[in-house]
Symmetry: C2
């Protein structure tokens, strides 16, 4: 059971417990961009916290928390970011009165989450997306290729990945227009142009690089965690009809680069450590550079909702990060084994996280099996894919022995094509 | 014939004529990073030029030319960058004595190219690579798939492209280590790990985005040139054995992201305008959003050299940008038709530029036809692919009616695997 509590009250199912202390960047009428953390329904302004001397012995300049993005803070390394997080835990733990007894300071340092706007937390230099859920890869291979050989020959030997577009990654709460593009209907001789008809989401998480590497440098699975600052929820929006036509032979392009959505709070790897669990048994055995020891998977519960215009959200799937075949540590070791360099703030998507059961599939493509099994919404309407004005919401959290560490929401709305 | 000349002397075959006036960033013992242009064998320091009042009526702050990258300058738009370029042409034209007669100013403004180090000219947010040479795509399709159906069904309907890694794009003159990675020899049951055996170059050009777009915005072929600041030479280093094993189904990843090389000088689209030529006849007719009017291809002569350690360079191919099936304007219209947003400094690679003749192929893969026809170097050695310590050099220039506008060199050295 949870043994620590905070003098800020929160419910048992709150994502932002004293065990979490994620990092983000917020804005409001008075603040252009300040780094922040969260407890309960409150935002903790880290600039104000530092400015008022609460990070005293850490010797930090408060301007560090006034940047547009967290990159400079993260780049200081875990030897700084972990003590900052631990100090916040200390300050806000029940019984600590340093800040609690100073109502003037509390007033500038604490704001209601509902009253602020969360911003994209990091400048993303490069964005990579993996394809690491075996159930997702098997489902897609079954639908589009050959059920008897659903996984391609390389799939169990390396974490397949590809580069994506960083410029169109937005923070939760945004909207975007349904993309237009070329599609080739199965019975048509020539491609046609128009709004995508098969707009889909992909239920993913992503991790943020916290320590850079130089060209030529490789990171082992054993050292990978030093380079992972934390995780977010991620929706890799996909236009399936555009994808089918364009992706051979060089991979997805316009089918993906019109928009992606991240949740605003980076949950640190340290906050996630208690929720580590056994990795997938990998057969055949992977090459030595991909081998690892210890429990490197994570038990992160994931849920996905569709909220039609003027209706309540309908839960359409529950999945779990633990269904990942390849771990983040393996993804990172693979990404750098050729000497590719990483920068702080780079984002690495998991790929769609599907579980083995049909209600655990992480995309409409799989949930409705290419549109052949429409899903019922709470307002009585049906969905094969995403309709105009639908809002799609991901939720994710870890829970164990009464301790909850969550990600909040990753939400975006699909507007009609322009 | 050229009617304009400069009071700085240069040979007829010099890339940096008074008609060129490209943009770059240099460093030397006194200068961390200043924007610059070039004439003959000289670098023109634009910070010093501005600081000494030579951009008078343009009302520019000289600090604009002191940034690490040209992005801020380029972002001011062609309404600023074109007058700056025109003013430089005016100042350095034969007969203009404003600067010429001021030896003190000349001494701070002009430096020998041989005495400075050219830096990466722009911060590249996102990098996209296309696959737009019909001869290259046909050769690759013939070798790896089916000679009777070498081009995939989408190829003549859209400029196939994919996202690449921005972090490992380096400026000419660098070296990198041969990448390691998984390969699966054709007769092996399982993949093996080790240094890439089939290291290759790709002869490309790239263009730099000069005007940003917002998400949801599309750029027509007619407006595309407003968004293209200029062009560079580009080498998209490729590890063919890694590529063959990893690229299905999501495209190239570790086979490409270990290193790419750009030339240091951005030759403006305005300098290239006189060398426009007719585009490829596109059959079948492309969709309306890809149609364009006017001569949108470019006659850019390209040459590629391999220089073995301690030997003279051997010219291994001559090609020409005019062999591109898809124009830059079409690539840009396609890239944004789905609403994908562009930022100033984004880089768009052409894809390997091969011509119809065997000596015009733009990669070792094609030149040696998968290694079956080795090439002889000037030192008597043979190459199927790139050896350790080989330096690969691209040269490119336009020439017409006695006017020459060139790119200089794009050069990088492949060191042994670490």
């Amino acid at each position: 059971m949870a043994t620590r509590s905070s003098w800020i009250q929160y419910a048992a199912d709150c994502d932002f417990s004293i065990y979490n202390i994620p990092f983000g960047v917020y804005a409001d009428a008075d603040t252009r961009h300040h780094a922040c953390s969260a407890i309960g329904d409150q935002v903790i302004d880290l600039y104000e916290l530092c400015h008022h001397g609460y990070f005293g012995i850490l010797n930090l300049d408060s301007s560090l928390f006034k940047h547009e993005f967290l990159n400079e803070f993260i780049a200081l390394g875990k030897e700084v970011t972990n003590p900052v997080r631990n100090r916040i835990i200390e300050l806000f733990s029940a019984g600590n009165t340093e800040l609690q007894n100073n109502p003037v300071h509390c007033k500038t340092i604490l704001k209601k989450q509902a009253d602020v706007r969360m911003l994209l937390p990091v400048h993303i230099g490069d964005y990579t997306d993996f394809y690491s859920s075996i159930d997702h890869a098997t489902n897609v291979g079954t639908m589009f290729r050959d059920p008897a050989n659903a996984l391609l020959p390389n799939w169990k030997h390396l974490p397949v990945g590809y580069h994506g577009r960083a410029s169109s990654i937005c923070v939760s709460g945004h909207s975007f227009h349904r993309p237009k593009g070329q599609q080739k209907p199965p019975d048509a001789e020539l491609p046609v142009f128009g709004p995508c008809k098969l707009l889909d989401f992909e239920l993913e998480t992503a991790f943020v690089i916290g320590k850079k590497t130089e060209m030529g440098e490789s990171v082992s699975t054993a050292k990978a965690d030093d380079h992972i600052f934390g995780m977010l929820l991620f929706n890799d929006w996909s236009a399936r009809d555009i994808q089918t036509w364009e992706y051979v032979p060089l991979g997805p392009f316009l089918a993906k680069n019109f928009a992606s959505t991240v949740s605003p709070w980076i949950v640190t790897l340290e906050a996630l450590e208690p929720f580590r669990t056994k990795g997938y048994v990998q057969e055949p055995k992977v090459l030595p550079y991909l081998q690892y020891t210890g429990d490197k998977n994570l038990d992160i519960k994931l849920e996905m909702f569709i909220q039609p215009e003027k209706a309540e959200p309908t839960k359409i799937c529950t999945s779990n990060y633990k269904y990942m075949y390849w771990t983040m540590e393996q993804q990172l070791a693979h990404h750098t084994v050729n000497g590719c360099n990483l920068n702080v703030g780079d984002l690495m998507g998991s790929g769609t996280i599907s579980g083995p059961q049909p209600h655990e599939y992480g995309s409409m493509l799989e949930l409705t099996w290419k549109g052949t099994k429409p899903m019922k919404m709470s307002d009585g309407s049906e969905r094969k894919f995403i309709n105009d004005n639908d809002t799609v919401i991901i939720k994710g959290w870890c829970e164990k022995d009464g301790v909850r560490v969550g990600f909040g929401e990753c939400s975006a709305k699909a507007l009609p094509a322009l």
